[in-house]
Point group: C2
Chain length 372, copies 2
């Protein structure tokens, strides 16, 4: 089977922008294809991660962005799994290349969240919760994750201060990332004293609303070599649903993420200890703690130590560095693009293009993109 | 490579229902799995075609319906290409089986359109048009297809009466289809005298708004045999985007559909003449005429003769029978489910389960599901 690799990446500015989604995508695409032939000359299919039609009253984003890339008459579609839409798009590109369906596939993602404002984005995201069971109770993304946070603090030795330290760590990483929405360090007091959103989560425990797009070109290893592109091998991937209603889940075992990571490790023939860097889905600080455990980096109940240097973490923790990009918290979280921004970070880290934020000797990365 | 087959199908009632989308899906699933093991024992992945989150304020339909099928922790996602979402879901299932990713995949589709009423559905569908170019002009689905209809009548010998005859033919087919939303014959005067929607289209030129779900199980030929299920081989498929703005297209050459059909024929090693029955996307009567040409059944400008018996059609027409189900017009068009309802019809026709509407000696079917 052909070996799928990431051959190029690009992203738009992240945060509050004046551009509509299609133009954010064009900026990302232009960066990804800066040193390459025209997309129409090589790309054979397009997958678009996109969360909500409400931000721009626009569906058919597959068709729209294919046209915007100058690609007519290729298979093009939107895939949606809320905040995991970007990774689902990437996974399709990887599968198509590995299965010989195509030699070059564009995985991209876009979200124009600021058009709806914070309340509009909160409403759009609440559509990811179970309409019959949880939406009727008025649950929103922050209040759902606050429930997980309460439970996590109850079951473990973690404190609100530990969660705040995760935000501080991610802002410190973002300060070295010119792509970040918030490229600035913050101190622990800033987090702890920020406005309460839903206890135990405060404003600085939450990833921001923002606009953004990302483009990732997946090709065969041969094509990437022919194009003289640095390439990162995609050795494995996994995807797993979970019960949609939080009420139906074990709140501190993110089983969907755990199974997806296990599947990816198995396909790649590695284990969690092999992973040098990981971009995990810290939509809220407690998510980083939970996902560090789901990914097998940390023993149950110790994931909150992700902000500590490896030597200071509990026994059984790996040496992984979490979210060198700054994570969703500080790099930014334009929903449909997030999974691809994670891939962008891995590509730059593993090809020596991460500049000041480069993690020394990083050879293997895990991306963990969560849907809801 | 494993040979993908359709091994079972099911559908909910179509039209105005009291059930939410997830329950419509459950009805479809129960029919599909009536003689089979529990879905959790065999299904390895789920793809859901679904057009709009606005009808039920619900995204993450992949996760939701996987849970509703009793499937935990399988890969599950929603695919969206407006009205082509169902066929895109089916195509992923077929690819996954053919590529050895999975042995059994559930392709399903659901739409709960009546919750929004006709104006809400019209608004939801208008999101499929280009926001920057056409939505701002107030275009809706009927007015867009009216433009195509005007152009088609201008370029060809077709008349409004010919388009009306397509509706009459499809209602006659639906009258023999117990699944149809409108299982009744109509006469030509009913169409011609119905309320104008957007000239040349009148009310009876338009597919209805309605609720519905469909479920299609795709497996390997071996598994279908083990399960003692009648099986229909999926010999080929194709997908193609087109320019999203109608203003940017050749209005009477539906190039996306044409290229998708050509790709499917090539993959299957057949040509248009080999096709005995076809379910085409008659969201409006003129679509059937245009898609008969795009599929290669009819010479350019003669597709409107689809309602005529083969012997009376223009030279170059094939003997294909179009939309024995009654088509979107009379069988019904719950958007995300439509592509899978087309597959259901092909399955029942080709396995001898089509009852009174069986097309004699039908061995090969084409499904043509269009996005916008």
């Amino acid at each position: 089977m052909p070996e799928p690799v990431i051959a190029s990446v690009g992203a738009s500015p992240l945060g509050r922008t004046d551009l509509p989604g299609r133009d954010l995508f064009s900026v990302a695409l232009a960066e990804a294809f800066d040193d390459l032939p025209d997309p129409a000359d090589i790309v054979e299919a397009v997958y678009v991660g996109n969360q909500s039609e409400t931000y721009e009253h626009q569906i058919m984003q597959g068709t729209l962005l294919a046209e915007w890339a100058g690609l007519r008459h290729v298979p093009a579609e939107r895939v949606e799994g809320c905040a995991a839409a970007g990774a689902l798009a990437l996974r399709h590109a990887v599968k198509d290349v590995r299965n010989g369906e195509h030699e070059a596939v564009l995985a991209c993602g876009v979200e124009k969240m600021t058009s709806a404002g914070t309340s509009g984005a909160t409403d759009a995201l609440s559509a990811a919760f179970d309409r019959a069971i949880e939406q009727r109770s008025g649950i929103t993304a922050p209040s759902q994750y606050a429930l997980l946070g309460q439970r996590y603090l109850h079951e473990t030795d973690a404190t609100e201060r530990d969660l705040a330290e995760i935000a501080v760590k991610n802002h410190a990483n973002a300060a070295r990332n010119p792509r970040a929405q918030f490229p600035k360090e913050i101190d622990i007091a800033t987090v702890l004293e920020s406005d309460p959103v839903a206890p135990p989560l405060k404003l600085y425990d939450c990833a921001p609303v923002g606009d953004g797009a990302a483009a990732v070109l997946v090709t065969t290893a041969e094509m990437a070599a022919d194009l003289n592109q640095p390439q990162v091998r995609v050795a494995g991937s996994g995807a797993s649903a979970n019960n949609i209603a939080v009420a139906e889940r074990d709140m501190t075992d993110i089983a969907g993420a755990r199974i997806a990571a296990e599947t990816a490790y198995e396909e790649a023939g590695i284990d969690a200890k092999s992973v040098d860097i990981a971009e995990v889905h810290d939509a809220f600080t407690v998510c980083e703690a939970l996902l560090a455990e789901a990914a097998g980096f940390a023993p149950a109940g110790t994931g909150y130590q992700s902000y500590q240097p490896p030597a200071e973490r509990a026994d059984g923790w790996t040496d992984v560095q979490l979210s060198p990009s700054g994570g969703l918290k500080a790099r930014g979280h334009p929903i449909g693009a997030t999974g691809l921004l994670q891939a962008l970070e891995a590509y730059e880290q593993l090809t020596g293009a991460a500049g000041d934020r480069a993690v020394e000797d990083a050879e293997t990365a895990l991306l963990l993109n969560e849907g809801g």
